[in-house]
């Protein structure tokens, strides 16, 4: 669609899940004999692949998108060329998904090096990464379009993404800790779905809920992006 040459600081956000894997997976994990029927590090690995994708998409779709929209006026300049607001939105989404895929893919490679990603079945988890990226890109953009001040992103990260990170089945199997009612509530959480899909891929253990998980990712993204599309067009063509 159009070339993007912003040099982003890719490295720091990539290392975050690596630190978690080392500290919690190997450090804390050595005190835990097994979790969900495997070593704790192996349990963590697929979830953290999704967290890497979530982080990659989220930073791009929140701070970076907000700054380009409100401060740099980058889109105003693009719209003097034969581009339309839809092109701008598609470009942003593609870039956020790309960044999510780079993060998730790189982290997957790390888990493979640690011997935590059983081959070949875990490769299927790589298909989950862009889907997770798409959903978190859509959520980040939706939130960015709602707020007027950039400092409100701390709410998004601290009160939304952090709890998702902690309570979406990355660190412990929800079904062993939550009652049936609460498990249904947990289905609302967006990160639950890619984590379940990635873990199923790592364990070569497909279940019918995978269809629901994929539907959630695709449907949720589509709904949010349809709304964002209208708002972006309105904001840019005032």
């Amino acid at each position: 669609m159009y070339g993007r040459t912003w040099k982003s600081n890719l490295l720091p956000h990539f290392f975050e899940p690596v630190f978690y894997l080392t500290a919690i997976g190997i450090g804390v994990g050595s005190y835990i004999t097994e979790m969900g029927g495997m070593s704790y590090a192996a349990f963590l690995a697929p979830g953290l692949v999704c967290v890497a994708a979530m982080n990659g998409a989220s930073f791009e779709a929140t701070y970076n998108f907000f700054v380009r929209l409100n401060f740099e006026k980058a889109y105003d300049a693009m719209l003097t060329a034969p581009l339309e607001p839809d092109d701008v939105l598609v470009g942003e989404i593609l870039w956020a998904v790309t960044r999510a895929t780079i993060y998730g893919g790189a982290f997957y490679a790390v888990t493979a090096l640690f011997g935590l990603a059983p081959l070949p079945q875990s490769i299927l988890a790589l298909a989950v990464v862009p889907l997770a990226g798409l959903l978190f890109a859509a959520m980040g953009i939706t939130f960015s379009l709602q707020i007027e001040r950039i400092d409100l992103f701390s709410f998004y990260f601290t009160l939304f993404l952090t709890p998702l990170f902690l309570f979406s089945g990355v660190f412990f199997p929800l079904e062993e800790r939550l009652s049936r009612g609460w498990l249904l509530v947990a289905e609302i959480l967006p990160l639950v779905h890619p984590v379940r899909l990635a873990r199923a891929a790592f364990q070569a253990d497909p279940s019918p809920t995978a269809i629901w998980d994929v539907a959630y990712l695709v449907g949720g993204s589509a709904a949010l992006l349809l709304w964002s599309r209208r708002v972006v067009a309105r904001r840019l063509t005032q």
Partner: protein, 315 residues
């Protein structure tokens, strides 16, 4: 197939165009016709609706009423077709600060889907045209305002536009840079590019524009060649001097033949007989003579006369 365009067709044509933002009319019932191959100025104070008019011309803002045609194309129907053939330099420089001039030009060229090797050829040509060669490896963040402005204009020329739209191109630039940019604009016009420029610098409009429209409160208040407007709206000479309202009454009495404009202690008088007025003031002063400025009237005077602007800022 549509018939070929006649060459005298206006490059821009607005008919009864209005734009409302909520309850505020940014542009109201505007007619505008820009002939092909000229440099055309939109003049007006801040908030007159100039930028909104430009945005409607390149098809980003949709008019609430009326029709905008550029190159004979309805902009609302085919914004991409119109934007492929024009270039816009926005009021603010929008550039990728960590990249140098050539990289910025390439990124913008890709928005126009220009491919290599044509992309590099145009980048090199524009770096020469706008004299950016000496600073070609400097990231934009380290460039001075003048160089950034030149780069902004170069970016809007990447698609070799038939129409160049410049929104306040020289605001905040030093006089030497302004002169350099004006001569670039004249060269482009001489090369056959139509130019539409907004400015609130009347000297800029007077030196650069073949025709101008003066806007105020979203409406066009006057249209024509700068010299023609001066002749139409104000007396040929201006006398400026400091005087109190009491002295003004003594000097002019009930004489309303000369238009007068007051800004604090300063009185500006538009007249056909500047010498006679000067003699009257000298006679009034006796020995102690105040300083007087006598000058030919210019576009700025037309602007003040037609927009009804008060220098003191009162409504």
């Amino acid at each position: 197939m549509p018939p070929p365009e006649p060459s005298n067709r206006p490059v821009i044509s607005l008919q009864g165009v209005s734009k409302r933002f909520g309850t505020r009319d940014a542009v109201k019932d505007l007619d505008l016709e820009v002939p092909s191959g000229v440099c055309y100025g939109l003049l007006g104070p801040n908030g007159a609706g100039k930028t909104t008019t430009l945005r409607m011309i390149y098809g980003v803002t949709r008019p609430s009423a009326g029709r905008v045609r550029v190159f004979g194309i309805d902009v609302c129907r085919e914004p991409r077709a119109v934007r492929a053939r024009l270039g816009v330099t926005l009021q603010e420089n929008v550039q990728i600060e960590s990249l140098d001039a050539a990289a910025n030009l390439k990124v913008f060229g890709r928005y126009h889907l220009i491919r290599e090797p044509e992309l590099s050829r145009r980048v090199e040509a524009l770096i020469d045209l706008l004299e950016l060669r000496s600073h070609e490896d400097v990231p934009v963040v380290a460039l001075s305002g003048g160089y950034r402005r030149r780069l902004a204009i170069a970016m809007s020329l990447m698609n070799e536009p038939e129409l160049l739209v410049l929104d306040e191109p020289t605001t905040g630039l030093d006089p030497a840079v302004r002169l350099a940019l004006w001569s670039r604009v004249r060269e482009l016009r001489a090369g056959g590019t139509s130019v539409l420029i907004t400015t609130h610098y009347m000297d800029e409009a007077e030196r650069l524009c073949d025709r101008v429209t003066i806007m105020s409160g979203g409406r066009a208040v006057s249209e024509g060649a700068p010299r023609e407007l001066v002749a139409r709206h104000v007396a040929p000479e201006v006398v400026e001097f400091n005087c109190s309202p009491e002295e003004e009454r003594i000097l002019f009495g009930d004489d309303d033949s000369a238009r007068r404009l007051r800004a604090g202690p300063r009185l500006v008088v538009y007249t056909r007989g500047a010498t006679r007025l000067a003699e009257r003031i000298r006679a009034h002063d006796g020995g102690d003579q105040r300083s007087l400025v006598i000058r030919p009237s210019n576009l700025e005077d037309v602007f003040l006369a037609t927009t009804g602007a008060r220098l003191e800022g009162a409504p």
